[in-house]
Symmetry: C2
Subunit: 283 residues, 2 copies
DNA sequence: CCGTATTACGCTAGCCGTAATGATG
DNA sequence: CATCATTACGGCTAGCGTAATACGG
């Protein structure tokens, strides 16, 4: 069998054009390459080179061999990469979610139940999440619509309701019984950017919105506190006493889409693996 | 890089199930395999085996690695095979023909012009020949129809006319001016089997033919001489005094299809290579 | 106990580098 | 004479085998 190191050397020679150049690239001596190329010809049993006393070039056979060598080298490298990736994946639970809140609720449970596993989390919209779940790229996903795919296992896991926080002096503050998104037309609203599907919802339902986006959670908190801008929040944060400062009013959002139920889903074949998790969570 | 010998050993272990069995198959000692498997794990950097004190089995990673190993091994073997085949092909001129006679005329010319090349010859029908020419499996083909493919280079090279030889006592002997194939209905005719398209022609044009086929050229000659059966021949053989024995009559076959022109063809890109050949042959 | 894996130890084949030679522009 | 390929020679690593150890059905 042709050992990889021979193919590596052939490939380097094919690319570099001379033995010296290839030798330098491979951190080897010219004689070593001369020998290897001879050995290749000997093993394959056909001439691979055009030999002029002072110049070595690949002939047709050699060019073909070099092309095949490249393929084998690529595949050989792939073994290491793929097996490492597979091993990593087997030690990782990748969970995708349409929103950050249910993720914050479930990840601690996951960590506790599957000790030693790496948990990787990612946000995405329902369609993309389902696709990645079916592709095996996510082991778990949290959606805000019930999955219809029969091959999936799922369970409702929590819910969330949208609110708007405004200073009590703000014109909108009078809608204490609640407000509809379309009534926020043209309002400048402070928005944390990592909120998953909520962003799409607001963008869709509020005509001509002027969102002021903030990437950093801490900065967002400070802005929300310091500025007089309306800020979106949800019952989850309200219960945890965020944004409940004096002089602010909490306006429920009345649109039905502003109250969502979340659903945790996994592939049917992983049902057993995540049995403990599904038992822990409550709708 | 993972050397091939390591992959070979992994593959053998995956197939054999135990190190001892694999060692025997590879003509190696168990310790050698133990070391190699350890080395594989070390290089890839992930566990590939389930280790019970007395039993070694592949884990998921290992099974994946073994599968990839198989592919690399296959491709590695293919390098040698393919390059050898390519080299052989480059030293071989494969010529296909619809009939043996023009082949016998051209092959000596080929041998003389392309010294050192192996000439491989094969019979086939026009369609198959063209296909193989375009696939590069034949470098030259001899057809009995003008090729229509624009990418081909061709030239008429010879012609051949069909005759029937019958004993002068035979009822058919009176047709000395010639006979049509359909008039041979129901006749038992002695036929040499390696005559290319002629066989198809006769089978098609003679109603209810009763061919007596003979594979061996020598035996065929003897039968033709000894028996009282009608025998097909052509002007080529007649000129060479075959079948021209006493007490036999030569009947020309009158069907237009029984007089053919042959055409030598090669791929357009090989036009130069075979320039000398095309100059030598005459229509 | 026999079959299996692993460890320990010494050997050697094979791959490499250095140095020298030859060829070429 | 600078550059490239090749040959010659010696060193050393890495893969191997033998022998010994350990574990299990």
């Amino acid at each position: 069998m042709l050992e990889i190191y021979l193919l590596e050397q052939l490939e380097a020679f094919a690319r570099c054009g001379t033995l010296s150049a290839a030798a330098e690239e491979l951190h080897l001596s010219q004689p070593a390459l001369t020998r290897s190329m001879k050995k290749l010809e000997e093993v394959i049993g056909v001439p691979l080179f055009e030999r002029q006393k002072n110049k070595l070039t690949l002939n047709e056979n050699g060019r073909l061999a070099a092309e095949y060598a490249r393929r084998v080298l690529d595949q050989d490298r792939e073994i290491v990469e793929r097996v490492r990736a597979f091993d990593r994946a087997s030690r990782t639970i990748s969970i995708g979610s349409c929103a950050p809140v249910p993720l914050d609720q479930i990840v601690p449970v996951l960590s506790r139940l599957y000790v030693g596993m790496t948990i990787s989390q990612e946000l995405g919209n329902d369609d993309a999440l389902l696709e990645r779940l079916l592709a095996g790229e996510h082991k778990l996903v949290i959606l805000h619509e019930q999955p219809e795919d029969e091959s999936l296992h799922w369970k409702p896991c929590s819910s969330e309701k949208l609110f708007l926080v405004v200073p009590s002096t703000h014109p909108l503050a009078k809608h204490e019984k609640g407000i509809r998104l379309k009534e926020l037309e043209g309002q400048s609203i402070l928005l944390f950017s990592q909120i998953g599907f909520w962003y799409e919802l607001c963008k869709e339902k509020i005509p001509h919105p002027r969102f002021i986006l903030q990437d950093d959670f801490h900065t967002f908190g400070e802005l929300a506190y310091a500025s007089a801008l309306p800020v979106f929040t949800t019952d989850y944060w309200v219960k945890r006493d965020e944004y409940a400062s004096d002089g602010r009013v909490l306006l429920p959002i009345l649109d039905p889409e502003a109250s969502v139920n979340y659903y945790l889903a996994c592939a049917g074949k992983d049902r057993r693996r995540f049995k403990a998790l599904f038992e822990q969570i409550e709708a």
